[in-house]
């Protein structure tokens, strides 16, 4: 069980957002096609579908490679990731000329700390559990 630790870290990292992607896709589909909300989310859906899970996988590889040996908390390390993803997600919307609803900007000052807390808990418990199960904790 000591082969390819970085591959196992990557797989453990992408597993959690991949599962949540089902929830995200269901929510988006309901919003767009059931409730007919006139927002072309399919233009920016590539971000949660591709970029976010890969970012989680790579972030877990970085944790295993450089951070874990310093006994730094996995939850706190995961909580830093929204600080990169939030600007990345916003950049994607700008690049694709996606008009972000005004309500999103109103809640943005509160959404970032909430996102950090959600990521902290998800990384500490979900990714931490998978890392332990795969023998890389």
């Amino acid at each position: 069980m000591d082969k390819h630790p970085y591959l196992r870290a990557y797989l453990a990292g992408i597993a959690v957002p991949t599962v949540f992607l089902l929830v995200v896709m269901t929510a988006y589909t309901l919003i767009r096609y059931v409730y007919d909300v006139p927002i072309a989310v399919e233009k920016v859906i590539v971000f949660p579908m591709a970029a976010v899970p890969n970012a989680w996988g790579l972030w877990n590889v970085l944790y295993l490679a450089f951070v874990q040996r310093r006994h730094f908390s996995l939850g706190v390390f995961g909580g830093v990731l929204p600080l990169l993803l939030a600007p990345g997600g916003y950049a994607v919307t700008r690049l694709l000329n996606f008009s972000v609803p005004a309500e999103v900007f109103h809640v943005a000052p509160f959404a970032l700390p909430i996102g950090i807390i959600v990521y902290y808990l998800a990384w500490k418990y979900f990714v931490g559990f998978l890392n332990a199960e795969l023998g890389i904790a």
Partner: protein, 73 residues
């Protein structure tokens, strides 16, 4: 090293390393080991419960955050 020296060395070692009276444990330790392995419960500290409760409350009061969070998850 001749035979006499080997015997001397043997005696010295036997004097230095005392025999352990009982090599086997008095009871079977395997059931306790199995019990310990099955106890793998996750301990959640109180501040994580506070964070979880606070986050849930905020999301209830500001549901507009949910799509933004889902987008980044």
């Amino acid at each position: 090293m001749n035979e006499h020296e080997v015997n001397e060395m043997k005696k010295l070692l036997q004097r230095a390393v005392k025999a352990t009276g009982q090599a086997e444990p008095q009871r079977d330790l395997w059931p306790a080991m199995l019990r310990k392995l099955s106890e793998k419960a996750v301990r959640v500290p109180w501040w994580d419960w506070v964070l979880l409760a606070g986050t849930s409350l905020v999301l209830c009061f500001f549901p507009g955050m949910v799509p933004a969070l889902l987008y980044h998850l």
